[in-house]
Subunit: 412 residues, 2 copies
Amino acid sequence: MQAEIISIGNELTSGAIVNTNARWLADQLSQGGLIASTQVTVGDDRVYIEAAIRTAAKRSDLVVITGGLGPTADDLTREGLAAAMDQPLEFHDDSWRQIENYFAQLGRTPGDSNRRQAMCPRTARLIPNSCGTAPGIHAVVHEAAVFVLPGVPREMRAMFERDVDPEVSRLTGERAVVMRTLHCFGAGEANIGEQLSTFMDPARNPQVGTCAEEGVISIRICAQGDSRDEAAALADSDAIAIRNLLGPLVFGEDDDTLASVVGRLLIDCGATVSTAESCTGGLLAAALTDVAGSSAYFQGGFVTYANEAKTQVLDVPAALIVDKGAVSREVAVAMAEGCRRVSETDYALGITGIAGPGGATADKPVGLVYIVLASNAEPTVRECRFPSHLSRRAVRDRACKTALNMLRKLLL
Amino acid sequence: MQAEIISIGNELTSGAIVNTNARWLADQLSQGGLIASTQVTVGDDRVYIEAAIRTAAKRSDLVVITGGLGPTADDLTREGLAAAMDQPLEFHDDSWRQIENYFAQLGRTPGDSNRRQAMCPRTARLIPNSCGTAPGIHAVVHEAAVFVLPGVPREMRAMFERDVDPEVSRLTGERAVVMRTLHCFGAGEANIGEQLSTFMDPARNPQVGTCAEEGVISIRICAQGDSRDEAAALADSDAIAIRNLLGPLVFGEDDDTLASVVGRLLIDCGATVSTAESCTGGLLAAALTDVAGSSAYFQGGFVTYANEAKTQVLDVPAALIVDKGAVSREVAVAMAEGCRRVSETDYALGITGIAGPGGATADKPVGLVYIVLASNAEPTVRECRFPSHLSRRAVRDRACKTALNMLRKLLL
């Protein structure tokens, strides 16, 4: 079984954006047991689009295409598909009504240009879009099942899950693939890879691999079996063995994030948390509240960016800031404890540091961050020195994750 | 002049990692005046690699390949290239000495597996790697210049800049390409596309296209000319015409974000801002402080997630919350004005709403968000009803962007 992904857009061929859609689709397909061994990206050009679709449909059983379905003149995927199918584009009344309904929900009416989105080749059918204006297209070209999805990631993902995934299951038949992913924080990929070396033999089933993204090392377990139960049993057995081996380095599975795991632990023990942030500027509070239902344990947070805010809002003594500096262990402790006192929460996290690129001094480099977890016992203090090659954004991200991980480990 | 990028690796075809190399290369090539109109990704498979190289070399003048040059058995790019050239692989003494020297610098000796890295097709030449073990390869296949670079981003980039970039300049000669991107917020892609219809004729130079990402519509202008100056003049002329047409819908160019633009405007008028957030939970403060140097205008922020926090920290009357509800115009105004008073800033932004998926009532649906900008004049109030298909994350993101845009428009 051959699958292929075609990504369409000048923003991709010019290098303006990273192709995250192709990665997401490849991941979904491989979880479904199909590896997209060829992936092609072409610009918004009818001739290139047509050629890519013709070639893919000849050599593959499933072709997933994204992008170029918008309402503007540079969206040419419909035209390219019609050419590859040697068919004209036709206007679909049903789809036009769906587009009109979508706009009506927003209290608007579609423009003339949106009419292009109701066009598709004669033997193809339009796929409704539940969260946007661009319908998708399903067609059969040279016996290959071809799905054209919008380039907007949210719309593309919803449509894939509803309309393409069942086709993947049908194509792969009985050979079942079960994927499990474990997420770790607090060690590097090489370190984790060495600990897992016996699992990572390429000839082994399940296949085990690691990948690193923004400080989180994810371990992918891909098990194959004659039935779904058999594959799941193999994947589960590996997941248990790896969890035993790595202990609390593993913080969660699949869709878990550090914030969602911390949230569950807080709910389990009926505890609350608040935040006092300087260099992370609200990112820690934003991560905690990214989790639906976080109002059960998150009271509130303070972004005390200016020194006066630290003093005024969190009662950090002005003299302490002058004496030790705003980026110091002592100020971080005072921020966390002041925050816990003011918010009347069980726990409080305080962060102060130098995210860069400016603000460094001889003894306080970019990447120096103090993180404090205040509770009814002695505060836990962590001095982090993030490597100098990390960007401002990465330093802030790692500081937040380290703070969440400190709270997670305390709650375990 | 045609350029093509081939990315090789199972970690790409399985969706384990995002292909950032292809984006970086496409960006470099387009800056150099060559658009890589086709980009192909294949797995670590000799037959697929050979086919991709044969096809690319026939239709392109320059082919840049990354990945599959490592020392292990699953690195098959050398073999695929040799097959595409109908040549055997030969061992290169010079390159082997360079690999030995590289290891010697690290106080190590290369293993037997590294000998594979000194192999290349007879008429090709190996390119020294200044920061890793894998040499690159330069070959001519069907008159196309083919460069094979390592997959490790740091090594790939160094080698591209030293060895491929000069070839790009040679190929493009005097024909120059200049790209400009304008970013808009506050209208949909179709609406903007209709306003720009005369610019978006595919036969026109510059080429103009739009793409949408998380509420921001970006307009890309790609101008070609016989000299860089000529192309730049064409791009600038379009950028000015489009800005005149769209007015304040355009908030910035290239790397600008709403937060960085607001930051510059605040600095220009020496004003300060603070934030009071409920449903966005710190995301607005995080966006403002994502900009280096934001301490010049961002004082601090309050994440008043719980009702008591709104009352205690921002002096929102408890009776008002009971009477109107935490998600109401009146509470949003009280939050913003309380925040401005407590923080002593020129402006304050207050946000309260229902990000979902829970929390909705009959008259207050998910997506209802009140945003208030307090200043020394009457507060500006915006009632947003974000569409129901938006995720929690998207509602929070759009609310922050709308808030930043309100401040931007006031400052203009």
